[in-house]
């Protein structure tokens, strides 16, 4: 008899918790994978596609599904380190197959050579190029992520990737970089 009571009690409890869990699963359902959001927040959002995915978010999803974390040249070492921290992986050097992390650049359109074909406007992932058909185009350098995607479509090769100029506010205290000059 006591065995029956025990079984009954356990069974009821199991049913109760099952109901609670079932309700919670429906009520507190997480809409999207929060891990993807976190990874996407770390990625530099250049949308350059150098990782082999069409944008930063697809790469974030790929990382969440187990892809390598060292495929983002614009992010460089610091991004890899942050991703390694987040994913609990070992930080590894940047995969050279996806390009190198050189100086930050922005696109620059030599405006007198532009024919106004709008091809670069269509290529720009962040709408950082303004212009209209048969009108000169120009890059909003503030918005440019330096992804390079506009360079190839240009039929007249009038887009250059120009290194971002160092200003006093963006200077990083590289005192060694100052040439020591002896003034006579």
């Amino acid at each position: 008899m006591s065995l029956l009571y025990a079984l009954l009690a356990i069974g009821l409890l199991a049913l109760l918790f099952g109901l609670i869990l079932g309700y919670a699963a429906v009520r507190f359902k997480v809409e999207s994978d929060p891990l993807v959001e976190q990874i996407d927040a770390i990625l530099p959002q250049t949308q350059c596609g150098q990782c082999g995915y069409p944008g930063c978010r697809p790469y974030a999803e790929a990382i969440a599904n187990g892809d390598e974390i060292n495929k983002c040249p614009p992010g460089g070492e610091s991004t890899i380190r942050q991703l390694a921290d987040l994913m609990g992986l070992e930080a590894k050097p940047l995969d050279d197959a996806h390009g190198s992390n050189d100086v930050k650049k922005v696109a620059f359109i030599r405006e007198d050579e532009c024919i106004g074909c709008t091809k670069c406007i269509q290529a720009c992932p962040v709408d950082a190029i303004v212009g209209a058909s048969k009108q000169m185009h120009t890059v909003i350098s503030e918005e440019c992520t330096g992804c390079d995607l506009c360079v190839d479509p240009c039929p007249v090769d009038c887009i250059d990737m120009v290194p971002v100029k160092v200003t006093a506010s963006s200077w990083r205290w590289q005192l060694d970089a100052i040439p020591v000059k002896t003034i006579d």
Partner: protein, 755 residues
């Protein structure tokens, strides 16, 4: 609260943690009155000399400017104008090396003084107490006054706080070694400083004014006490000398014991702090109208033969001031010029760097005085830096993480609370330039944050673009869908039409099929006949299309028939003629003949005549007569003598048919040209059709038999006229028929033999 004021009045101050006591070396430069400096050859006014946004340029190259004229205009609350320090000409607006540790070139206005030093019209406002506060604040902003203690924060923002001000602290501590600019200013211009304090008090309405001066400047303390003796609210506070007591937060802590919380401003604890130099400049603006165009700069260091303080115009290149102070490079092993003090200053990259609003000292130490930084040793964890830190940080930990670029961890140790005073590096036994590491780490963190913001913006833009593209696509699809629906509706509106249309189309297709069959059938039987039939049909169609009168159409049709018949007849005649030509080659010289029938007839006649003549000549040559009767006789003779009746028969036929054909054509309406034209067109079409039929046949009988070729060759040679082709075609057709017959008969024979 009263107790706090009492404590301050009694000179019982608080203390801040850490701090160092470096040798002051102030007597080097504080002995003489502030000197005047000569005008330099060029002045370089950096457009942005303060924290905030640069002003908007108001002048262009070549403009003549007067002393005190604004070169830029303030366009937003954090922008300050700069003014021409003397009268002269704007000779360039270009990047020039700036007073920044990086030594990077920044946009500057170059002024070449004309030596007249002519002031612009000044508008002092000595009755400021009657004016609204905004008017005074505006005047301070327009004068371009920024904090002159070092940071260069725009003063007009600082004097318009949103909160109540309990203490207005006037900072005359000047804790850094060597610098005596504020010391000399207080000694010589205490009265004007007090006037400035009055203006600030009017604006801020503080509970108390504390004038903090380090106790190593007794003359300045005394001068200020004298200047402020009428004002019991102004408390002169001689604070103990300890570096960095002049730091904003440290001074607040010394005077009131309050600490400014992390990430907050002094106003959050009810305190506003202004430098004595700023007070002097404010007084200048209000009582004389002069904008900020000059400041006191200490020129000191043992490499200067005449260390002193000077009134330096903003924009004066350092080299000009060095000349004034008798700088001797020989006394320095390696050239080393420091802007600011030895603790917080930075080495200058060029002697062309101009004086800016926050330049308080140019230091040129000898090597004995200040040894060059030795090679950095490993940190020995002595924690001397932690003891010296005035902000209670752990410099060794921050150093550790900054060096390893573990920026998050460095931030965990409150890296951004570091005031970069340099006390830690001063005490470090391992000669580690700690502050430099912190600065690099701070710059990196700032950059990362900036990049993060940019990344967020880029993400937003990317997603906005994606959404836009999707919307556009959906819109396009919707449009297409609507267009399709509109089409469908339009068709429905027309009712049964589609059905009837389909039926009509089907009927047409069927008709075509049947017509094809009908045309195909005779082709097998008799292609020529088919061609003629088609031509007739076509002709009729054309006439119907032209909606020609029915009677003319009928006549035209008849004409057509006649013409076709004539063509066939002509071809036959031609054949006969050529055959005759073979018999009598001399008669085939009628190549260019236009009227074939006539010629053929003539030739035939001639041939007959000749033959008759020959015959008659043979029989009785004298009886040659030229009459028609004789001709007839000859004809009969030839007819009798002709090898085949086949040859003769067509001849007769030709003559009769030719006349038959000619008669309908000739009386045909010559006046009605259109009619004629139409007939011609019809004839041409018929000819073309026949030609086509001929071609088909040629293709069919690619292995053209001998007789056909024999007939065809001369024809082609002679003339390209279609009639001939028609004739050739007919001939070929006949030949082919004959051949086929022969073949079939041969086959039959073979079959028979086989049997």
């Amino acid at each position: 609260m009263q107790s706090l004021i009492d404590k301050i009045r009694q000179g019982r101050f608080f203390d801040f943690p850490g701090g160092v006591h470096p040798p002051g070396r102030k007597t080097l430069s504080n002995q003489d009155v502030i000197g005047k400096c000569t005008l330099p050859e060029h002045l370089y006014l950096t457009v942005k000399q303060h924290i905030g946004a640069p002003g908007q340029l108001q002048v262009k190259v070549g403009d003549e400017v007067l002393k005190g004229q604004a070169l830029t205009r303030s366009t937003n609350p954090f922008a300050l104008p700069v003014h021409a320090p003397t009268s002269g000409k704007v000779t360039a607006i270009a990047p020039h090396v700036s007073a920044h540790p990086s030594g990077l070139a920044e946009l500057s206005v170059e002024i070449t003084p004309d030596g007249r030093d002519k002031w612009i019209d000044l508008t002092p406002i000595p009755d400021y107490q009657q004016l609204p506060k905004t008017r005074i604040i505006e005047a301070i902003c327009d004068a371009g006054i920024a904090g002159m203690g070092g940071a260069g924060f725009p003063t007009h923002i600082k004097v318009s706080p949103k909160k109540d001000v309990e203490f207005l602290v006037i900072n005359g501590a000047e804790c850094e070694p060597y610098i005596t600019a504020d010391d000399r200013l207080m000694r010589e211009h205490a009265w004007q400083i007090r006037q400035g304090i009055d203006v600030l008090c009017h604006l801020l309405n503080p509970g108390h004014v504390l004038i903090a001066i380090e106790d190593n400047k007794p003359e300045a303390i005394q001068a200020m006490q004298v200047a402020c003796q009428e004002k019991p609210d102004y408390i002169i506070c001689p604070i103990p000398t300890k570096y960095p007591a002049g730091g904003e937060k440290q001074l607040i802590q010394v005077l009131t014991g309050r600490e400014v919380p992390h990430g907050r401003l002094p106003i959050d604890v009810g305190i506003i702090m202004q430098n004595v130099g700023t007070c002097f400049a404010v007084a200048d603006v209000i009582f004389t109208g002069k904008p900020l165009i000059q400041r006191v700069v200490t020129l000191t260091g043992e490499a200067m033969t005449k260390p002193c303080n000077v009134w330096a115009l903003l924009g004066t290149p350092i080299c000009h001031l060095l000349k004034h102070a008798g700088y001797e490079k020989a006394q320095q092993g390696v050239q080393r010029l420091i802007m600011g003090g030895p603790m917080m200053g930075f080495s200058l990259a060029s002697e062309q760097i101009p004086v800016v609003k926050s330049t308080n000292c140019i230091l040129a130490p000898t090597q004995q005085e200040m040894t060059l930084p030795e090679e950095e040793q490993a940190c020995i964890r002595c924690s001397a830096c932690a003891d010296a830190c005035p902000v209670n940080l752990l410099p060794q930990q921050m150093y550790w993480h900054s060096k390893a670029k573990e920026l998050d961890k460095a931030q965990d140790y409150n890296l951004f609370d570091c005031i970069e005073c340099g006390a830690c590096a001063y005490v470090c036994p391992s000669q580690i330039p700690l502050v430099h590491y912190y600065r690099v780490a701070k710059a990196q963190i700032r950059q990362q944050e900036e990049e993060k913001q940019k990344a967020d913006k880029a993400r937003d833009r990317f997603e906005a673009r994606k959404q836009r593209l999707e919307e556009e696509k959906a819109e396009r699809e919707l449009k297409h869908q609507q267009a399709a629906e509109a089409r469908r509706e339009a068709m429905h509106k027309q009712g049964d039409d589609p059905k009837s249309k389909v039926a009509a189309a089907l009927a047409r297709a069927r008709k075509q099929q049947t017509s094809d069959e009908t045309t195909a059938a005779p082709e097998t039987a008799d292609k020529v006949a088919a061609a003629i039939a088609r031509a007739k049909a076509r002709k009729a169609a054309v006439q119907q299309g032209d909606s020609a009168p029915s009677d003319t159409a009928d006549t035209a049709a008849e004409d057509k028939q006649a013409k076709v018949a004539a063509a066939v007849a002509r071809a036959k005649a031609r054949k006969a003629a050529t055959q005759q030509g073979h018999a009598a080659p001399s008669d085939t010289a009628d190549t260019a003949a236009e009227d074939k029938q006539a010629k053929v007839a003539a030739a035939v006649a001639r041939a007959k005549a000749r033959k008759a003549a020959v015959q008659q000549g043979d029989a009785a040559p004298s009886d040659t007569a030229d009459t028609a009767a004789e001709d007839k006789q000859a004809k009969e003779a030839t007819a009798s003598k002709s090898k085949t009746t086949k040859q003769v028969k067509p001849k007769d036929k030709v003559s009769t048919q030719v006349t038959a054909a000619d008669t309908p054509v000739k009386p045909a309406p010559a006046d009605d040209r259109e009619e004629q034209k139409r007939q011609r067109v019809a004839a041409a079409i018929a000819k073309a059709k026949q030609q086509k039929a001929q071609k088909d046949r040629q293709q069919a009988s690619s292995t053209a038999d001998m007789p056909a070729e024999k007939v065809a060759q001369p024809l082609v040679e002679v003339d390209e006229q279609k009639k001939q082709r028609v004739a050739a075609a007919i001939a070929k057709a006949k030949a082919r028929k004959a051949k086929l017959d022969m073949q079939s008969s041969a086959d039959n024979q073979q079959d028979k033999t086989d049997e």
